[in-house]
């Protein structure tokens, strides 16, 4: 499994964004977001669904970076590099609202009572919106911010008391959920500090004050979020080091908790499989239940449990449309949108399902052949999907890791600065 294949395929200046998968909490459908497109399969009706977007602009104009379902009102949100936040009706699959942010979005979640939608951008700011349909407020309201850090995880506690945000600077912050979110969340309750590299993802488990996080330090950690106490750490390096091939640490990419809290699934960088854990609520410990591996398919980029106990996994990635931060004309935006939709339509993913710790073979997945065809796109070789996935992982790692320069490189970079006056030391 070479890494260089992916890099060669990557064009200079473009980067690959990983495909995402999400299952509707009521089990009615599964969504794959790849590039700027949403591919939806309705499991109850056993057929694909086309979204209807009558808002402006219609459809995403660049890769989707995060998606989320809410718990109660059948809502879905998609946010991405086009700086758009789209709120969807997840039954009729129509777009309710589109809001434009000033920066690219990196994470999205709903409050536990479904009344609020929170979106984080790549500069550490979290915005809040009301999910009420006829709400006229379209201007994003800043609720909290991590100073100048990329927010990687965002979720609201099941008891409605807290907002948890994780960032690239190794931190997890627990902020009190305010009475009126539109006036801001100013009261930080505690921090969960312990990761020694970027925190990649956070998720709540159960209703007894527990939080799980995964990080670039290859650990999965269990926290008591009321006190910020670290309850248990699981180092995946031992488990994931398959036949000594590990080149450097494999960061945890994503984590998901099953609806009845029996399983915690986690996927790692360059790991063709998924690790399944159990969380003992009494002892407050994590234990590895099963390592589900496959030999032929690509490492997964996203995972999601559905209400029926299936764990859905997707691998794949799509190119971003690099616009840069310079002023863009509406025409250029429209062109970019067409390009993005084209890339998304052509992108290929692989979808797999794990049930009861066993990988379901080929077409025995729910929805069968038709679902696979809808969510995966046209047939393509494993190598293409793997290459795309690896390029996406590399892009994410570069984004989240601290750049380490040697003293020589730092001096060189300082010399390249055009405003420094070189003075003679006396």
């Amino acid at each position: 499994m070479e890494e260089t294949g992916g890099e060669e395929k990557m064009k200079a200046g473009k980067s690959m964004a990983p495909a995402l998968i999400a299952a509707h909490p009521d089990g009615s459908c599964v969504v794959v977001a790849v590039g700027a497109a949403l591919r939806i399969f309705n499991l109850s009706k056993e057929k694909p669904v086309q979204v209807q977007d009558d808002t402006l602009p219609a459809g995403h104009g660049d890769v989707i970076r995060a998606v989320a379902f809410d718990l109660h009102n059948s809502l879905f949100a998609s946010v991405g590099d086009d700086k758009l936040v789209k709120l969807w009706d997840a039954t009729a699959w129509t777009c309710i609202k589109t809001v434009r942010l000033s920066k690219k979005a990196s994470a999205v979640t709903f409050s536990h009572d479904s009344a609020w939608l929170l979106v984080a951008d790549k500069f550490g700011i979290v915005y809040v919106f009301s999910t009420v349909r006829h709400d006229a407020i379209h201007k994003p309201v800043l609720i909290l911010a991590h100073c100048c850090s990329i927010i990687t995880g965002l979720c609201c506690s099941p008891d409605g008391k807290y907002i948890v945000t994780s960032d690239r600077d190794f931190k997890i912050r627990v902020t009190k959920f305010p009475e009126n979110p539109l006036t801001g969340a100013h009261d930080i309750h505690t921090y969960c500090l312990g990761h020694t590299n970027f925190v990649a993802c956070v998720a709540f488990i159960g209703f007894q004050g527990l939080l799980i996080s995964g990080g670039g330090d290859a650990t999965l950690r269990l926290w008591e979020y009321e006190t910020g106490a670290l309850l248990d750490t699981f180092d995946t390096t031992d488990e994931a080091g398959v036949s000594g091939q590990s080149q450097g640490t494999r960061a945890v990419v994503a984590v998901a908790v099953s609806s009845c809290n029996t399983y915690v699934g986690t996927i790692l960088e360059r790991f063709e499989g998924v690790l399944l854990f159990a969380c003992d609520m009494v002892e407050r410990q994590l234990s590895l239940l099963q390592k589900v591996l496959w030999s032929e398919n690509a490492p997964p980029t996203s995972l999601s449990f559905d209400s029926g106990g299936n764990l859905w996994l997707v691998s794949g990635a799509a190119e971003t449309v690099e616009m840069g931060d310079e002023f863009v004309t509406p025409e250029a935006l429209a062109v970019a949108q067409v390009q993005a939709q084209g890339i998304a339509m052509a992108a290929v993913t692989h979808v797999q399902v794990v049930r009861d710790c066993v990988l379901l073979g080929g077409t025995s997945v729910p929805g069968g052949e038709l679902l696979l065809h809808t969510l995966q796109g046209h047939q393509a070789g494993v190598q293409d999907v793997t290459a795309a996935t690896e390029a996406a992982e590399l892009a994410m790692k570069n984004l989240l890791s601290k750049r380490q320069y040697t003293a020589e490189q730092r001096e060189h970079r300082k010399r390249m600065r055009n405003d420094k006056v070189v003075s003679l030391a006396s």
């Binding site: 909290l144 911010a145 100048c148 100013h186 930080i188 921090y191 312990g194 601290k402 006396s426």
Partner: protein, 244 residues
């Protein structure tokens, strides 16, 4: 005593660039005993009364003018200056060592850290630990697109409120009018801070130091500039739910 001319650096440093300095994973993993060697081997019984937690922090301490003055005013309090620039931090280290050498027994309660206070305060300080925080002549970041880098902002005030004790005091001063107005209005609209009364300001010995203790302050005085102070107390969040 180190000479400033060997430690000159640009006034500005990019707070967004990735750090090259080690940061503690959490506050109880940081070894303060290296910074305060006289305070820390707490072997005598009366040492248990010593407060071994850092209580004052000067954010962007520059060449250390303020902490050097505060050291003598509050000899029992441990205080730290935080500075982003490498050379300037080195200067302050040398200065403190020279002062400790020259005045035996004094200046043992101050130290300097090279770190980014906008990102790492919760790594060094526990909740409610600091009694005073100082922000003297911060970078104004004039352009509107750079306003988010200002050290006093609604979002960052949540972090400062977290590391400060209830009743702790936050001091700011600037000679830039627009920044002064920004800081005052940002603090006014934050639910966890309230302004000190004129009476309280008069009684607080630190207030006078804001304009006179540092290099920057002395420069402003020499040029007869006006200064704008905003001094606030960290309070408990008000309970009334009558939000906007």
């Amino acid at each position: 005593m180190p000479k400033k001319r060997f430690y000159r650096a640009r006034a500005h440093s990019n707070p967004l660039s990735d750090s090259q300095f080690p940061v503690p994973v959490k506050p109880d993993e940081f070894d303060w005993s290296e910074h305060f060697p006289v305070f820390f081997p707490a072997t005598e019984p009366e040492d248990n009364a010593k407060d071994l937690k850092v209580r004052f922090a000067d954010i962007g301490c520059g060449f250390g003018g303020l902490i050097v003055k505060l050291a003598l005013l509050f000899p029992e309090k441990l205080m730290v200056g935080m500075e982003l620039r490498d050379k300037v931090t080195e200067y302050v280290k040398e200065r403190i060592l020279a002062l400790r050498e020259q005045y035996k027994g004094q200046y043992e309660n101050i130290t300097v850290l090279r770190t980014n206070a906008m990102k790492y305060l919760p790594n060094y300080f526990e909740k409610g630990q600091l009694e005073k925080m100082f922000f003297l002549f911060p970078d104004p970041h004039f352009k509107e697109k750079n306003h988010r880098r200002r050290i006093i902002s609604t979002a960052l005030l949540a972090e400062y409120a977290y590391v400060m004790a209830i009743g702790g005091i936050l001091y700011t001063i600037t000679d830039v009018q627009e920044l002064g107005e920004w800081m005052k209005s940002t603090l006014d609209s934050h639910p966890l801070f309230e302004p000190l009364t004129a009476d309280e300001l008069e009684k607080d010995v630190c207030v006078e130091l804001l304009s006179t203790a540092t290099e920057e302050g002395q420069k402003v005085e020499r040029n007869q500039g006006t200064t704008y102070r905003a001094i606030y107390r960290r309070i408990v969040a008000p309970k009334d739910p009558a939000g906007a």
